[in-house]
């Protein structure tokens, strides 16, 4: 049944983001025409638009995740969702997976938008652009760029961190929306949802920040390698480019998982469809 839930969830939630993706595709196509035809004003205009679109994609996706979750479960559509012959945990899991998918896709598309802006700048600036690399060489910053394998490991680490923070965001959003739609709070679900989110997310991140600095578990990066250290996050070690405390991220991701389990429990036992 999870496969069927995923299929239908993808279909339902896709409507929310498809418009902004279409707008992005149109702007990118227009920019490509500008680059190919070497019409400067098109490239400049599209660069500005793409910067806005990159931000808009992330915002629209976030709103879509909240809206789709709320509407499909806690409005009249809940009569359809909650009477399906599936467990509430499956219903929740399908929504988490698809939200995760849309957010990641939006991050990728937003990243591509920024890359397109860079590409356009390169096309516009021509040789002046390569001068930037000369500047890097002259300032000595180029020596600080990690080797290929290290860079790949840093990127992989960054991707894992981003994924964990996306999971965290989804977990806190779903928890807040669900709490706000329990019987005592559903009269003012928007207000309570917002308060719950801001409160829980704020407290969660305050603890997370404290743990990031105080827990002796960190990742350090030098120009040669990336490694794990059972030490507090530190600045300016020997050959060290930076280090990053893992305690906070692990805490907030575990908190989000806990909240998702709790959300599933509330959906199973306490939800009261209006």
């Amino acid at each position: 049944m999870l496969g069927k839930l995923l299929k239908n969830e993808l279909k339902h939630s896709g409507r929310y983001v498809i418009t902004i993706y279409s707008v992005t595709a149109a702007v990118v196509a227009f920019m490509a025409i500008g680059i190919l035809t070497k019409v400067t004003w098109i490239g400049v205009l599209c660069s500005v638009l793409l910067n806005f679109v990159a931000v808009a994609i992330l915002l629209v996706t976030l709103i879509a995740v909240v809206k789709n979750f709320y509407e499909s479960l806690y409005t009249n559509l809940g009569y359809l969702s909650f009477t399906l012959p599936v467990k509430c945990s499956s219903l929740l899991l399908s929504k988490v997976i698809i939200s995760f998918f849309w957010i990641i896709l939006s991050y990728v598309i937003a990243g591509l938008c920024v890359a397109m802006v860079g590409l356009n700048a390169k096309a516009q600036a021509g040789e002046q652009f390569s001068g930037l690399f000369d500047l890097l060489d002259m300032s000595g910053l180029r020596e600080m760029i990690p080797s290929g394998a290290t860079m790949a490991a840093i990127i992989a680490f960054a991707v894992v961190m981003i994924l964990m923070h996306i999971l965290t965001l989804v977990g806190f959003i779903y928890f807040s929306v669900t709490i706000a739609n329990t019987r005592p709070l559903q009269g003012h679900s928007l207000l309570f949802g917002l308060l719950t989110f801001l409160g829980s997310y704020g407290v969660g991140y305050a603890i997370s920040t404290k743990l990031t600095y105080s827990l002796p578990l960190s990742v350090y990066v030098t120009t040669e390698k990336i490694g794990l250290a059972f030490e507090k996050m530190s600045f300016g070690g020997e050959n060290q480019l930076f280090s990053f405390g893992l305690g906070g991220t692990l805490f907030i991701a575990l908190a989000a998982l806990g909240l998702l389990f709790f959300t599933g429990w509330i959906m199973e036992h306490k939800v009261n469809i209006k």
């Binding site: 239908n8 009569y79 009477t83 469809i273």
Partner: protein
Amino acid sequence: MENIITVENLKKSYGRHVVLDGVSFSAEQGQIIGLLGPNGCGKTTLIKILTGLIKDQTGVVRIDNEEPGAYTKSLIAYLPEKTYLPGWMRPIDAINYFADFYKDFDREKALSMVSRFGLDARQRTKTMSKGQQEKLRLALVLCRNARLYILDEPLGGVDPAARAKILELIMENHAENATVLISTHLISDVEYIFDRVLMIKDGHVIVDSHVNALRENGKTVEEVFKEVFSYAW
């Protein structure tokens, strides 16, 4: 005959307001039961509990000897009072959706019924009239070969001429040997199809009787209902 519904000492409150206060009844397979009572008497709450939409009640609720959950939801074809299809959905989408999740859903019959109702399978529900939407929801429910049909006010929003047609459809299309629980306050229109009636007042079942037993006293279900609820209509 085996019981499809067993309810014992069911209690449910919304804050201090008690909606169901020790409700007990059972339903055998194959019966058509009228769930009757004035607005706010707890009919919809009882239905929501049976369908698993409310879980924080106390007492015993069993559908085919199981507590409400994924299994019991697969047995129940439920027609809520509210419109529950998203506006972007078209009849063909709704049919595919039901076919995906309910093994007992007859897709071909649904397509044929939608066509018989004069509905366009490609028209979005948000552009349909209320009556068209009700027809679609009814088709989705009646095209399941369910063990238990729960219909909450199926005649609520339709004109008197259409009511007879809807009842005819329900009688013709519900699965053989299935139990049908119909909540309504339009008793005169529907009472002839009932085998049994449950009347709820102030959270209690005050009448649980076979229709024939009521009629032996020379009264219609509606007359009994008026007596019980002391209505001066």
